[in-house]
């Protein structure tokens, strides 16, 4: 009984550490960008910046810099330096559309966007995940030198999407390129 109690206490403590609310600014040298991390959101250990408030399946914000020559998972298309934002947006839509794990993909909006002075695109998508749950994704992206920068907000269900969209916009507005390089 005593042993079970200690294990439970340990697990609770470990859970608290994992749930630490971060906030602050991410300008780690691991990335080529800096963004403000909202209060109450925590990082999840990934090769890109992934933050969530209540768990990645409920809502997450992902910020990534990737070398334009790097292949995507599903489409074999590649980003190119001289690509227009519209062409880059098409590759992202094709990547989602080619993913066998998602269904009923709908592109609700695809338009040019200014991402803190960078000419890019904005796509709003809805789709069903592997277990049939609905997801909403707002995806911003632009190409600078050899790097494709992207910021996306994904939420499970419309309600979760509406709840944190303003938080995502604040993250988007705080975004700054530190250095466009390969990753």
């Amino acid at each position: 009984m005593k042993k079970i109690l200690w294990v439970t206490l340990f697990l609770l403590a470990a859970g608290c550490v994992a749930c630490t609310h971060n906030g602050g600014r991410s300008n780690s040298t691991a990335y080529s960008f800096a963004v403000d991390i909202p209060e109450g959101w925590r990082r999840i250990d990934r090769p890109y910046l992934l933050i969530t408030k209540e768990g990645p399946f409920l809502q997450n914000i992902m910020v990534q810099n990737r070398f334009i020559g790097r292949s995507f998972r599903y489409t074999k298309k590649k980003m190119q330096k001289k690509m227009l934002p519209e062409e880059a947006a098409q590759i992202i839509i094709d990547e989602y559309a080619s993913d066998q794990n998602i269904g009923n993909l709908k592109v609700l909006n695809n338009s040019p966007a200014d991402i803190n002075g960078h000419d890019g695109f904005k796509i709003l998508l809805t789709y069903l995940g592997p277990k049939g749950n609905e997801f909403h994704t707002l995806y911003y992206g632009f190409i600078k030198a050899d790097t494709f920068f992207n910021l996306r907000f994904t939420a499970g269900g419309r309600q979760n999407f509406q709840k944190d969209i303003e938080t995502f916009k604040r993250v988007l507005n705080s975004f700054q390129v530190i250095k466009a390089n390969k990753s």
Binding site: Y74, T75, K76, K77, K78, Q80, K82, M83, L84, P85, E86, E87, Q90, D94, A97, S98, D99, Q100, N101, I102, G103, N104, V107, N110, S111, P112, L128, G129, P130, K131, G132
Partner: protein, 398 residues
Amino acid sequence: MITRLCKFFFYLSCLLLSGLTTGCSTHPEPIASDRLLTNADEQFLWQKAEEEQRVLESSDLIYPDEKLEAYLNDIVAKLQSQTAQSDLEIRVKVIKNAYLNAFAYPNGMIYIHTGLLARMDNEAQLAAVLAHEITHCTHRHALRVFRHFKDRRSFLTGVQQALMANKGLQKLAQNIGLTGSLAAVSGYARELEAEADRVGTELMTRAGYNPKDALSLFDHMISEIEQAGSEEPFFFGNRARVRERIDNLQSLPADRYSRPRPIIINSELFLAKLDQIFLDNARLDIRLGRFQAARRSVEKFLRIKPDNTRAHFLLGESYRQQGQDSDIPKALKSYNRAITLDPNFAAPHKALGLIHYKKGQRALAKKFFESCLQLSPNTPDKAYIKGYLRQFTLSEEG
């Protein structure tokens, strides 16, 4: 001890089964052990298959084309008339998916992907794939696999585990279900697949097709998989499994299947019946970045309908989206041809606008963007086009 015994009987049954199948004659007869649906195992499998098909049919994966289905079902009827299993109703439907595959449920429902159909050149190749799938149904391969497992739960867990190994297929597994996935992704044991090759070849030969046509299809598939440099997620997109098909067909004694009768190839009829598949699948291949495959499909279509606007536009897209400067003149040629054939089709105007915009040819770009907006004022990409036009205005003012 009990576990050891179970394992022993399991391996014994595997051995017996492989002995049965390898020892099978090449007569296209189904297992005559018992009649259809007279045992609980088969009833369970059929019930599961029907449930899974209802989910699949309600998804957006089915390619809706009744005339095409009727043509495919006619070929199935021609092939099935060569079997003894006439009480099993076998039907075919098409799935919108650019990956190479076809699979059968135990209750006789066959699904074939647009991707596999688009790679074919004639009816004989189609008959080869259908005859293979028909044999899985008539020879009750799903039931034979099911009986390898000690109970229903371990069967379902086994298939589920195989699917979980392929993380890219969870959504698909949800749509086609476990019995569908078993056939679609991993295929059956080597012996059962060999039986489907052997019996299927005899079915198609008896129905008047030349089995050598199947070889040219599988050869083409192998070279495409090798060219792509990566394997596809399904059975017919797996290099090793397609190689097995070729080896099995090549190992069949040639004289056994040569019949002094007219050979059916039906290239023209096949191309005419599948024309829309070639275009629709080319669009899926362009999305996947498989530009060469897309071009081959469009070119096949253009052999039947050389003046089709949409086909010329798609050919242009396959060149432009590939992003090589050397392909741009070919893209221009295709878009211009599309506009000549139908000046009111907005999409090639937009594509020409983009090409000229990137080349810095502002006057031409402006002309095509404006004509696109005029032809299709509510085009989904109007925000981009208006943005380009706004830039032109600003630079003129500046």
